[in-house]
């Protein structure tokens, strides 16, 4: 299992287009990936789906924790980390 905690800095947060790019990135790997919005304590750790991303409401400045388990766990976490750190190319 691989885990990382990241701060989301892009203006829209993890919504709309960034959320879609995030889901598509996870889809390209075999490992299962979960996400938790540490900045919204009332939200739980959930699988990465478009619906779940919208529900946990990750805004600019929020901290998220990603966990991946599976054969390519390290790779998918690296890919998602790069995506977030590059502000989804926005």
């Amino acid at each position: 299992m691989t885990e990382v905690v990241l701060t989301v800095n892009n203006p829209v947060g993890l919504h709309a287009r960034p959320a879609k790019v995030f889901v598509e990135t996870v889809r390209a790997y075999k490992s299962t990936v979960t996400i938790q919005n540490l900045s919204r304590p009332q939200t739980k750790e959930v699988p990465v789906t478009a619906f779940n991303l919208l529900q946990i409401g990750v805004r600019q400045g929020h901290q998220i924790r990603l966990r991946a388990s599976g054969e390519d766990a390290a790779e998918v976490i690296a890919a998602l980390t790069k995506l977030v750190e590059e502000n989804f190319g926005e």
Partner: protein, 130 residues
Amino acid sequence: MIGLLIVSHSARLAEGVQEFVGQIGGDQIPVVAAGGASDGSLGTSVERILAGLEQLRAADGILALVDLGSAVMSVETALEHFSGPPVQISNAPLVEGAYLAAVEASNAEATLDQVAAAALQARELMKVYE
């Protein structure tokens, strides 16, 4: 590949939803707007809907999203004259449903049922956190 048909009583609303889905990266999937009455005024048009379905003929399946229930009858009437890929009319809210459907359909292997189920989740979407 699943296509989306956006049906509304307003041509501009349908085109707006089409634009919105396109902007969030929905350009990988076919999204056709079929809004307004045949003269462009407020209403729905079986001809415009049928033309929209024809544009999506190459898709493996089509999910039709509507603004209000009264548009469903026009879609059903159009379907009587359409022999192409299977079509489902969604109970999802128009904008949120189109968004979730587009994300699901961007996976080329997604089936019509999966896209339809993804759109339907939009009914539970919360926007404002108490």
